[in-house]
């Protein structure tokens, strides 16, 4: 297959940089694409045109943009679209995304379906996220809502900056509602995952979104920081240092590790076997890569048996080629990454009270010529004090932690998704009040189960639009 040359997109205008980075196949080493890398100054200059991105979108009614999203979703899922100086079929896309990110092809296809679903149901999603607001109010900036009250929503930025990850194609659903809200996109793709931003852009523009509304700046490390610096609203994906760096900055929505958990109340823990399937799905699906994958199962008793049962289910799983429909594990395509993670886990295993339960199923680290795999790891911790009791890695890794119910909420720390299985009303009340839990599932709900009509880690509408007071006595106001 010919190498694709992928340019920077400067509000729709392709620009080939003198700096390029190759995207390579993690198994064969074949160069899949040569991606132009932007210097930060390009972005700085182009931000002068960011207002235009919103302007061209506001010229199209939101209802029309929603219909365009549906069309774009179909194109994204089914059409041959332009990709740099070449073309890309849906199968090419899944193959290429798999080849550079390490995610098995069938998981890439599943992510395509998710994106398609979101684009196809944009009307319902926006209705839910805006709580039934007349969407024309977002365009006009004010209006009378259904209960007869004047409301005003002010866009906080003409564009949303996105600093996207390389290794988790599932996150792209989060920015799909932005264009229909008439806000432009300023995308900085992850180095190994240029595919979704470019394919989605091709689908959007072919469906009718003005090309001036979307810019893509692949780049080195400083480009991510530049996107945050230049855009008044940015969604960034990263590890704990990124989370710390931007904590408290109202212009930035940071998506870091989730530390998602399943908690078993004392009232149900003796029936733990009933919930093993939910636990396995939460830990294991999508190769454990997502922030919504479960990395901790917390209970006051039976923890060793739970760990043992999880290990029996997941421990034997072995890596398979990315094109194998039975492949369950994603590869780490960054050289040395799998070994570094394993070394980090191993150093925690020496602590008293920590037991590696999957050890008997063979070595967890599998190193290949250009990539590495980590087979599922189940750890048992006899208390929350252990280093590995609250850790997250980007593969199926779970710590089963013994902790009293009284202490559980206090000790779990920041948790993106908590699935709390309990019928204890007092415990449920405490869980409802716990501000360090973001998404709460009460009952046997897998942590990875999403409801597209609900916000994820902050409501994107509230991030992009500020509700404010508005009064008017003008006989004629701007429409």
């Amino acid at each position: 297959m010919a190498i694709l040359n992928i340019p920077i997109l400067r509000w729709g205008q392709p620009y080939t940089s003198l700096d390029t980075e190759d995207v390579v196949h993690f198994v064969t080493g074949e160069t899949l694409a040569r991606v132009s890398q932007a210097n930060t100054g390009l972005l700085g200059r182009d931000m002068r045109l960011s207002e235009r991105a919103r302007q061209v979108l506001t010229e199209i009614p939101i209802s029309e943009l929603i219909a365009t999203m549906k069309k774009a979703g179909d194109l994204y899922l089914n059409a041959t679209l332009s990709m740099g100086d070449g073309a890309q079929t849906p199968d090419d896309f899944a193959r290429q995304q798999s080849a550079s990110t390490g995610l098995p092809e069938h998981m890439c296809k599943a992510n395509m379906s998710k994106n398609h679903f979101v684009l196809s149901n944009m009307d319902k999603i926006l209705d839910a996220l805006t709580r039934g607001l007349d969407l024309n109010i977002l365009t006009r900036g004010y209006g009378i809502e259904s209960r007869g009250v004047m409301v005003s929503y002010q866009a906080q930025s003409p564009v949303l900056g996105l600093v996207l990850p390389s290794n988790s194609p599932g996150v792209h659903t989060l920015w799909l509602p932005v264009i229909p809200m008439q806000v432009g996109l300023l995308l900085k793709p992850g180095p190994q995952e240029p595919w979704t931003p470019y394919r989605m852009t091709a689908a959007f523009t072919q469906a009718g979104v003005p090309k001036e509304a979307i810019a893509i700046y692949p780049g080195y490390g400083e480009m991510g920081a530049e996107v945050v610096r230049r855009s008044n609203r940015t969604m960034i994906f990263g590890g704990l240092p990124t989370v710390e760096r931007y904590r408290g900055d109202p212009r930035v929505q940071v998506h870091g590790p989730g530390f998602s958990k399943i908690m078993l109340g004392d009232d149900v823990v003796d029936d733990w076997e009933k919930y093993i399937d939910i636990m396995v799905d939460s830990v294991f699906l999508n190769s454990g890569r997502g922030c919504i994958n479960c990395s901790g199962v917390w209970a006051s008793r039976h923890t060793r048996e739970i760990a043992q049962a999880l290990a029996e289910r997941m421990g034997p799983v072995e890596p398979k080629p990315p094109e194998d429909p039975e492949a369950k594990l994603a590869a780490f395509t960054v050289p040395g990454a799998a070994r570094a993670i394993w070394n980090s886990i191993e150093s925690g295993l020496g602590e008293a009270g920590v037991e590696h339960v999957t050890g008997k199923f063979g070595s967890r680290l599998v190193e290949k010529q250009r990539c590495g795999y980590l087979r599922p790891v189940v750890i048992h911790c006899d208390s929350p004090d252990k280093t590995l009791s609250n850790t997250e890695f980007m593969f199926p890794f779970v710590s089963v932690v013994r902790c009293t119910q009284n202490e559980m909420i206090r000790r779990i720390g920041p948790t993106l998704v908590a699935s709390a299985i309990t019928n204890d009303e007092q415990f449920q009340r405490q869980l409802m009040d716990a501000t360090h839990i973001d998404r709460l599932n009460l009952g046997p709900v897998p942590t990875i189960q999403l409801d597209w009509l609900q916000p994820h880690e902050g409501n994107i509408v509230e991030f992009l639009f500020r509700p404010r007071a508005f009064q008017s006595r003008l006989e004629k106001v701007a429409v």
């Binding site: 890398q37 210097n39 100054g41 002068r48 920081a225």
Partner: protein, 357 residues
């Protein structure tokens, strides 16, 4: 090329004789020689012979007394000390008397008068304080008959702000520096030339455009830039989008230890490739293997930059720079090896903070 090599070898012999002669040498090298079981003055005949010295350690340049670097032959002369590093801890120091003037006068000969007119005034928009660059640029300007206007810029504070994650303060400081520059440019001093760094040039151009003007409209025709990494893409961007036609940009690579390496003229036809050549024979650059600093890599291959300084004021053999690049062939203008694609050495880059300056 043979002539250049002969000049380099002659310079080596002269400088080694000077620094290791008890009548003229500096305390550091004279004491160093007492620990060797060979005599540099009798055994060093060529540039290659300098490999007999152990690798130069930059730690030797930290701390006092700085006079240990003063050759006896220069005692009584007015001295400068220039510093590099020093964001935390003791900076590296280099004593100087005339070297910085000589280096920049040599560099001056490479500047086209059309864009750097004789007698024109300059703006030094770069680091101030205990840095060689500040005085060197001023001397360059004076040497060409102009007056140099300067701003205050403390790069150590910039690096501290970055390390502390104080990005808002960093932006304010950068704006403060640019404000100083624009105030000078708009004050009627008829400034035509400037020194600046890639990032500050970007910020200056952006702010001028925000005010409805441009670098060119401000009267600048020649820019000598350096201080941080210069890429072909940046150079193209600067020429095409920040400056436009009529403003000449010359990238340089230098530091307190070496002086200034000039670039061949950078052109679109050559893909904006930037190839630096050291001011030989006063300094020489080699591109050496990462795993063997005594092995020069083949032309076009990547290696670490190794610097040798050969002046009567300073002798530094085989100093491994914090940069890597590709070895380049000699050219008509500079009949000795050059280096292109200079960038932070990959093993050190992760620990290095590059400031706005």
């Amino acid at each position: 090329m043979h002539e250049a090599k002969a000049r380099l070898d002659a310079q080596v012999r002269e400088i080694v004789e000077w620094h290791f002669n008890p009548e003229t040498g500096c305390p550091f090298w004279l004491e160093f020689a007492t620990k060797l079981d060979w005599d540099p003055r009798s055994e060093i005949h060529s540039f290659e012979d300098l490999k007999k010295f152990p690798p130069f350690e930059d730690e030797w340049l930290r701390g006092g007394p700085v006079r240990r670097w003063l050759p006896k032959g220069f005692e009584g002369r007015p001295l400068f000390t220039f510093e590099t590093g020093g964001t935390t801890g003791v900076p590296k120091s280099r004593l100087a008397i005339e070297d910085f003037r000589i280096d920049y006068e040599m560099f001056s000969d490479t500047l086209p008068d059309e864009y750097f007119p004789r007698g024109a005034n300059w703006l030094m928009l770069g680091p101030s304080g205990p840095r060689r660059l500040r005085l060197a640029v001023e001397h360059l300007c004076q040497h060409r008959g102009g007056i140099c206007f300067c701003v205050d810029l403390d790069p150590r504070w910039v690096i501290k702000l970055i390390k502390m994650g104080e990005l808002a303060a960093l932006e304010k400081y950068k704006a403060h520096v640019i404000e100083q520059a624009i105030t000078i440019l708009e004050a009627g001093h008829d400034i035509r030339c400037m020194f600046t760094t890639p990032k500050l040039l970007e910020s200056l151009a952006e702010e001028l455009e925000n005010r409805g003007t441009s670098v060119k409209a401000a009267g600048i025709t020649g820019i000598f830039a350096g201080g941080t990494e210069f890429t072909p893409q940046y150079t193209r961007f600067a020429m095409e989008e920040l400056l436009g036609t009529g403003v000449y940009l010359t990238p340089t690579y230098g530091n307190t230890l070496m002086g200034l390496a000039c670039s061949k003229p950078v052109t679109p036809d050559d893909g904006y490739k930037i190839t630096y050549f050291a001011p030989q024979p006063r300094a020489a650059i080699e591109v050496v293997a990462f795993d063997d600093a005594d092995r020069v890599v083949e032309y076009g291959e990547t290696g670490r930059v190794r610097l040798t300084t050969l002046t009567r004021e300073t002798f530094i053999p085989g100093f491994l720079e914090r940069d890597e690049g590709e070895r380049e062939r000699p050219c008509d203008l500079y009949p000795w090896d050059g280096v292109s694609g200079v960038r932070p050495f990959r093993k050190l880059a992760a620990q290095t903070t590059v400031g706005v300056y």
